[in-house]
């Protein structure tokens, strides 16, 4: 039974994926596209080009961090919807440190910037968790509110406090960008081209795959080890599993929740940095939004497994790169992929639930049969 159960549980995400592709197919049919053709193009475009592969990994990088942040929260029984706001504040702090600290060598400046990002994320996670522990305010509501405050606050800093007014214009024409000053070179995260070349891989220049990707993988592995091998991770899971029992066993649940949520916030603070330090080089009003929400999907799809997050993040990167491909080559609107993402989230949770029902029913039936048989034999 348990072997079958495992199998079924593994099947759930796959079933959900299939279902989502089916729903996506309906939308494609609705606009007169051949779904098979579109999916085929997507695969070919994504897998036959080196720059596509690089781009997929680049796109998956922020999602790895946000998936990890959400998953760590879930593991300790807390739902961090606030990753979105946390990475905005993280990016804000990182950006400020990145353009303001002149004259530092890269090996000091870059780590400082990354730390600033993590600190920003923790800062924004701090209030919700404290309100949760002290006043019982539900973290879902407070973090959603914190997200909106973060958007507005970052906007305020970009447009009113740190607006870069040194940008050039010709005779007052054109338009400068609404952004903060550019980060110093010492604050930029190098791309992986050099390293990959030593391995004989000639990644096209325009792919921005940078060292945050391996950092994300490394963190996922580290978190995996922490969760399953370290005493702290054990406590974290215990608190997430049953806080009352953990408390009774002598684990300081408040401290565990606090530290785990701050850890989640710190991870969230890294979400925006691959774009900020590895690509844009400045924080502007169009800084990408939504990684935090996608992170929820990533974590759920990975069933909160730290290593699974890597795979599901790459899956989302795959979808997003593929969206560009099918838009360019098949004329399919980007939104099909957005719909697909939403449907995946919903169908995954429903699929898991259905599998659970099925398994429970099977087990019940089996045990009942067993009992009746025992009775028949016993009497």
């Amino acid at each position: 039974m348990s072997y079958r159960r495992r199998l079924l549980e593994l099947a759930a995400p796959l079933l959900a994926l299939l279902f989502a592709l089916l729903v996506g197919g309906i939308f494609l049919l609705a606009i007169g596209k051949d779904p098979l053709q579109v999916y085929l193009t997507m695969f070919r475009f994504n897998l036959s080009r080196l720059d596509s592969i690089g781009s997929i990994l680049y796109k998956s990088t922020p999602l790895i961090f946000s998936g990890l942040a959400v998953a760590v929260g879930f593991r300790v029984g807390l739902f961090n919807i606030g990753v979105e706001g946390q990475y905005f504040i993280g990016a804000l702090l990182a950006s400020i440190v990145g353009f303001s600290l002149h004259g530092l060598p890269v090996w000091i400046h870059l780590p400082l910037v990354v730390l600033a990002g993590m600190l920003g994320g923790m800062l924004w996670a701090w209030l919700p968790i404290v309100l949760k522990l002290r006043r019982g305010a539900h973290e879902v509501i407070t973090t959603i509110m914190m997200n909106h405050i973060a958007y507005a606050l970052v906007l305020f800093f970009i447009t009113s406090v740190f607006l870069d007014t040194e940008q050039e214009m010709v005779k007052g024409l054109g338009s400068p960008q609404v952004r903060m000053p550019k980060l110093l070179e010492t604050a930029r995260m190098p791309t992986m081209h050099g390293f990959l070349e030593t391995l004989g891989i000639e990644l096209p220049r325009h792919v921005y795959l940078n060292w945050f990707f391996p950092l994300g993988i490394l963190l996922a592995v580290a978190l995996f080890v922490m969760l399953w091998r370290a005493a702290y991770g054990y406590e974290l899971r215990a608190v997430g599993g049953n806080p009352a029992a953990a408390e009774t066993a002598g684990i300081n649940t408040q401290r565990t929740m606090l530290s785990a949520f701050l850890l989640s916030g710190a991870l969230a603070g890294l979400v925006g940095l691959s774009d900020l330090l590895g690509y844009f080089g400045y924080l502007d009003i169009d800084f990408p939004k939504g990684y935090g929400f996608t992170g929820i999907a990533v974590a759920l799809l990975a069933r909160n497994s730290m290593l699974g997050v890597i795979l599901t993040a790459i899956l989302f990167g795959f979808l997003r790169r593929g969206a560009e491909g099918v838009q360019a080559f098949e004329g399919v609107p980007m939104d099909t992929i957005v719909i697909l993402e939403g449907v995946i989230i919903l169908s995954i949770v429903v699929a898991v639930q259905i599998v659970n029902w099925y398994v429970r029913r099977q087990e019940k039936l089996m045990k009942r049969r067993q009992v009746t048989m025992e009775r028949a034999g016993g009497d």
Binding site: G241, T248, G250, E363, R368, V371
Partner: protein, 512 residues
Amino acid sequence: MPSPVIETIGLTKAFPGVVANDRIDLEIRAGEIHAIVGENGAGKSTLMRILCGLYQPDLGEIRLRGVPTVIRDPRHAIKLGIGMVHQHFMLVDRFTVTENVILGAEGTRWGRLDRRAARRRILEICDRYGFDLDPDLAVEELSVGQQQRVEIVKVLYRGADIIIMDEPTAVLVPQEVQELFDNLRRLAKSGKTIIFISHKLDEVLDIADRITVLRGGRKVGTVKAQETDRRGLAEMMVGRPVLFSVDKEERAPGEPLLKVEGLSLKSGERYLLRDVSLEVRGGEIYGIAGVEGNGQTELVEVIMGLRRPTTGRILLAAQDVTGLPVGRVRGHGVSFVPEDRHRRGLILNMTVWENLFLGRHRARRLTAGPLLRRIVMLGEADELVQEYDIRVGSTGQPVSSLSGGNQQKVILARELAGQPRVIIASQPTRGLDVGAIEFVRQRLIAARAAGLAVLIVSADLEEVLALSDRIGVMYGGRLVKEVAASETTAQELGMYMLGSTTGAKEARDHVL
């Protein structure tokens, strides 16, 4: 002879792993108060849930007033005149008494709830049966006893003439119990039939006309209350002539290892604990008896550091641990078996081996820096599984897959393996089967033999009597009596549990 209102024939209901009701033939007569007794898990609640439509029987037939009937759901049961007062009240705290009563049976005028008419009817019912209830108060403002009255009114409002009550007295203080009994008698006199579940044999003998005993899902028999006594009933319940007694050797108690001085706990204006002092010595089992809800839970929670006392001190081997967090208290060599294993005892989604180290996982032996030494832990887990006879395929299974008894053994193994000096065990055998009960009791006796101080809390008087050297009785948050186990009887303890502080003999006279 009055004809039966309810008759069950061969009623059977199986759950995964257990036949909760096994071919039960029951006969309830109109206007009687019929008690159902039996050990934990005997199948009482299941039987009642079938009668009120919550469960469907697998086999067997129910005859209602002579007519074979299928009771589809609680709504249907109500239509048939059967109402259930659940042990865990089914009330909407924020609603008023009236709203709670009319929910699901609302009357309207012009599309509007007719609260006025409902209120009038409720007052009528209260009047008729002498209930004291304000229909306009929110339920959350009522005492437990009043809430129970709301439940009864709910049933009467729907015109039920058969009222089923699952352990109605477990949550009541003795005065409330008396009030309830008065109410029940009045109801019976006016022709209502009452089916009543209880573990408390004195109560049953006091209130019931007839008593049916269940054991292991089967009916043992039905007797008239006048024609039996405690001993007889107990024998029917347990299936053995003598009450469960455990052999334990005489032992001179050692140093006091756990000492509680003047402990009080206040919640709002109410005292949950009031000036409790006791001491448990090494090699001694101290049993705490009492009706549930008289402060036992709070007492152990305060000792363990789960709650902070309002006043008083807790000493472990002469060291003051008052107000320390649980982890620190445990650090002084205290082990704890909580009363509710699912709520406080286990992390159900974690594995058996992980649960075997909960709280002791930071021991130096088990860690290497920040990491846990899995190999060592897995090895020790296997040993514990052997030693405690935990029936499990592999320690890597989630603990939720274990049966209740084996889950309890996991907790016990964990709490005893830490080499404690003091063990606090609440309801250590609740919900366990007989074999597991025996096993658990033996382990506790062994701990005593090894010189540990053991404090047990149990709602089960036989258990307290069989295990303890000394017994303290709690009532209303106070420790009202402390006696040596060899110098008392269940009857006497029962008197103290009901709040009587006078001598046992006097109390006995009072009841008999």
